[in-house]
């Protein structure tokens, strides 16, 4: 206990030292917002910004929501997050996960179906080993990789596969308590959003949990998509580590190193499920694979929400009115991998032959707790109602490191749409 206090004092003194030697938001940062996408290294003025004890988050959150932040208007509907166990984390992509393949096949398919499949072990790729089957005739597919990548298609979802091109007719933010009794006609009949969400949450936390036991799972968003005059539910699932969600929105944010070499700076960890028939897991994908927590260190004091919002106000001073739809604390995910590899030249084409993929088994992922500030984008901003709408859940975001105040953001509509889920 005494040691912790001493450590806290040292950390606090270090932060204060950093703050006192740095200026306010630099003009060049303010002026370089034209792309509305990227990151800004902001150092806070100690007189302007406050740190709070993590045990005071709920109270701080409540009072911060009542404040005014210039061009940012904060929605009154925001739910106070339960975020008292905040840590800095280190994760790692699991290895040898394909050894679970036969058990995983059984949670998706019955024995009769499995008996007919030709299961292969594919080690032809450098970056991932898989155990899988793909049967066009029976319209079934399941693949389990050594890095935790798992994907599955039942016959009802096989033709649509993992496509996201169907029109979204309605989006429900389940994490904002939009759990609705609205019913939609799926392939086999009517199903309400509520029963579908309850089924998926229950399935994940019982059937899937043994394979990814570090987390609790919860449906974050449901998109109702239209396909051949019927509907299906498209679920985005969040993973919670000790009550705090892992980043699911930063869809492989690219950056460049000092030599101009591209790499994935921020990644995400999430699950995507489609339901074509009522209360059926019709398709499943773990997208990037599975990361497991390997180290954590408690964070005792964080930048107050009020300070985080003031930081937004001063950093994005050129912006017009924006409504903040949601605020959370989440774990950002920064893969630490060898992206340089070697350059191979074919005529004028240079290929960066990566030594590692950012999602490869064994790759470490550093994690920082951040304030996540969400700005929903209404469909009127990116199309008219007569236009084809495949997006459904479009969000701009600003993330602020709860310890250092470093900001990264995606506020460019074209970038948001490019990476839309």
């Amino acid at each position: 206990m005494r040691k912790n206090k001493a450590l806290n004092l040292i950390v606090f003194a270090f932060i204060m030292l950093m703050c006192s030697s740095c200026a306010d938001v630099p003009e060049n940062v303010k002026n370089d917002m034209s792309q509305y996408n990227g990151q800004a290294d902001i150092f806070m003025n100690q007189n302007e910004y406050q740190y709070i004890d993590v045990s005071d988050i709920a109270e701080d959150f409540k009072s911060a929501l009542e404040g005014e932040y210039g061009q940012f208007e904060v929605s009154k509907e925001i739910i106070i997050p339960n975020s008292e166990n905040i840590c800095t984390m280190e994760f790692e992509y699991v290895d040898n996960f394909h050894e679970n393949a036969d058990e995983i096949f059984k949670i998706f398919f019955d024995d009769e179906v499995l008996k007919k499949q030709t299961i292969i072990d594919d080690d032809s790729m450098q970056r991932m080993v898989t155990r899988e089957f793909y049967n066009k005739q029976d319209k079934v597919y399941c693949c389990v990789g050594n890095n935790g990548f798992t994907a599955m298609l039942l016959p009802s979802a096989f033709d649509n596969s993992f496509s996201r091109s169907s029109t979204v007719i309605k989006t429900y933010h389940i994490d904002r308590n939009e759990i609705s009794e609205d019913a939609y006609t799926l392939s086999d009949g009517e199903c309400t959003v509520k029963e579908a969400v309850n089924f998926v949450n229950d399935w994940l936390n019982t059937k899937w949990k043994p394979f990814e036991s570090y987390y609790d799972f919860s449906v974050k968003t449901v998109m109702v998509r239209e396909l051949k005059e019927k509907c299906y539910f498209d679920f985005v699932v969040e993973k919670y580590y000790n009550g705090i969600p892992l980043d699911e929105i930063s869809d492989s944010v690219m950056s460049e190193d000092e030599n101009g070499c591209p790499y994935v700076k921020h990644t995400f960890s999430s699950i995507r499920i489609n339901m074509m028939n009522c209360c059926e897991i019709s398709s499943f994908t773990s997208l990037n694979g599975i990361i497991k927590p390997i180290q954590s260190a408690s964070v005792n004091s964080i930048l107050s929400l009020e300070s985080a919002l003031k930081l937004c106000q001063s950093t994005f001073s050129d912006f017009k009115a924006m409504i903040i739809s949601d605020i959370n604390i989440k774990y950002s995910l920064l893969p630490q991998y060898n992206y340089l590899g070697e350059e191979i030249t074919y005529g004028n084409v240079i290929i960066i032959n990566s030594a590692e993929s950012d999602t490869q088994a064994g790759v470490k992922v550093l994690s920082r707790p951040v304030w996540e500030i969400i700005i929903d984008v209404p469909s009127s901003e990116y199309g008219t109602s007569s236009e084809f709408n495949q997006y459904g859940d479009i969000k701009k975001y600003i993330c602020i490191d709860v310890q250092t105040g470093e900001i990264y953001y995606r506020l460019s509509l074209s970038e948001v749409l490019k990476f839309a889920k």
């Binding site: 450098q126 993992f162 994908t285 997208l287 004028n348 084409v349 999602t359």
Partner: protein
């Protein structure tokens, strides 16, 4: 030329469009096709244009590739980057490097056109993630 090549080249040509002289377009109509190009006739120097495409693979085996043509100078180049790596045992011809992505797998592929001189150029780089 195999069936895959024919299909991808066809979609590549379909994706091509003309921008105003000297302007540069980096577009991504969908996660399946994207392009970065500098239209003809514009003197330029030390420029670099990037487009990135991401999504979830829908087909059994997907290939990401890039091609460049009508280069007026050997100092112009196209960079191809895939977060999943480029497989060393490249399939297709040297102009079509690829990486294999499993159905359901999330991917990000980046294509960069880098122009290092002051030549008059007719440059284009195209990419596709298809099957």
């Amino acid at each position: 030329m195999n069936k895959f090549m024919k299909k991808t080249i066809a979609s590549m040509l379909a994706a091509a469009s003309i921008a105003g002289a000297g302007s540069v377009t980096a577009s991504a109509a969908s996660y399946k096709a994207w392009s970065v190009y500098q239209n003809q006739g514009a003197p330029t120097s030390a420029n670099k244009y990037t487009d990135t495409v991401s999504g979830v693979a829908t087909g059994y085996t997907l290939s990401a590739y890039a091609s460049s043509y009508s280069m007026s100078s050997s100092s112009n180049c196209v960079y191809v980057y895939s977060s999943k790596g480029i497989d060393a045992n490249i399939t297709g011809t040297s102009s079509y490097p690829s990486c294999t992505i499993k159905p359901g797998e999330s991917f990000v592929v980046s294509l960069t056109l880098k122009i290092n001189d002051n030549s008059y150029l007719t440059n284009k780089a195209n990419g596709n993630v298809g099957y």
